[in-house]
Subunit: 92 residues, 5 copies
């Protein structure tokens, strides 16, 4: 599970049918200080995370397949929470 | 799931039989700004993605095995969508 | 499994229901010499690890799902041990 | 799945019994231009790939376990194809 | 599976019960030339690998769980072989 910042959306007309109707967001992993760390991941999002918001993402494939409702979906990364602003412990 | 750019094909005569008839493409992961990020991945492609096109790839092994129709295939990465040009949110 | 140092907490009001009541910690992977190595991971913690303490974390999804008691949870990383101070073999 | 170059063999007398009789090769992941990319992986090889040959490797554990014929083997990476020289699309 | 060098032990009194009685070693992944590559991993070891010895480690969770004898253990990385000194193909 990674702390990440939303950096955009991906729109794909030709795609696996299990992604129909799902929002795909570009998530840049970040450190606790907010610095970019490693390769951006594409995740499905049902929390309505906004541009530049911080989120927690998970690579758990079985949970992602459950979310889209298709046990054969290639979905893998999923937004599992939107980080509250001004929480203690990490800088905003 | 990664945003990536198609950088070539791989041709292998000696290979696992489950890959027979499948196109194998070299996918360079990229950032939302289009910069290369991390190690290129080899993926199977059924969407006919063209050279230098942007795609979304997934490491979901069970979906890749379903795609090639062999539950014992070592297939792992698969092209799951071709990114539309000029979509909002990421630069083209 | 990675050696890591606790660097903060994550608070998320909008989140997957399986994380309700669980502490989410930011874990910076470190080398045996204590230097940061790679991308921080978010893990669930039931050991009460303190700020800056060294821990061992694991990416085993099935164990994390067992811990939170929800077989469909997207939980993946989990704190599996708190490293003793002054043990032989690694510098403190 | 990664494009890689064979860089050596590993010989281990003390090892998990499922590897008995299997060749273990050191595989350096490479870019489409042939540059080294990321950490070398140890893979089992049944294709007889030669020193410095380019191969495709996969991290699919279930396929690796099927290959060695032991459902409890810790085998994970496997050579799934030997890249033809002079194929179109990637430089030789 | 990675080629790695043993760099120390981890001692943790507060830990998941499935690790009781198991040795946890810090494994620095290395290249075929012996250079450090990427983040150190914590692995369980039943081969008695010594300090600075070269080993092969695997991230196969099901094999690690089998090794510790607990199907719900979060164990993931395991030492699967101790590399012989002076084998052909890689420098000593």
């Amino acid at each position: 599970m990674l702390l990440a910042r939303i950096e955009g959306n991906v729109v794909a007309t030709r795609k696996h049918p299990s992604f129909e109707g799902w929002r795909l967001v570009i998530c840049q992993p970040i450190s606790s200080a907010g610095e970019p760390e490693g390769t951006p991941q594409i995740a499905i999002d049902s929390h309505g995370a906004g541009m530049h918001q911080r989120v927690v993402i998970s690579s758990d494939g079985s949970a992602a397949r459950t979310a889209v409702g298709d046990p054969k979906s290639p979905a893998r990364w999923i937004v599992i929470g939107v980080v509250d602003e001004k929480e203690p412990g990490i800088p905003v």
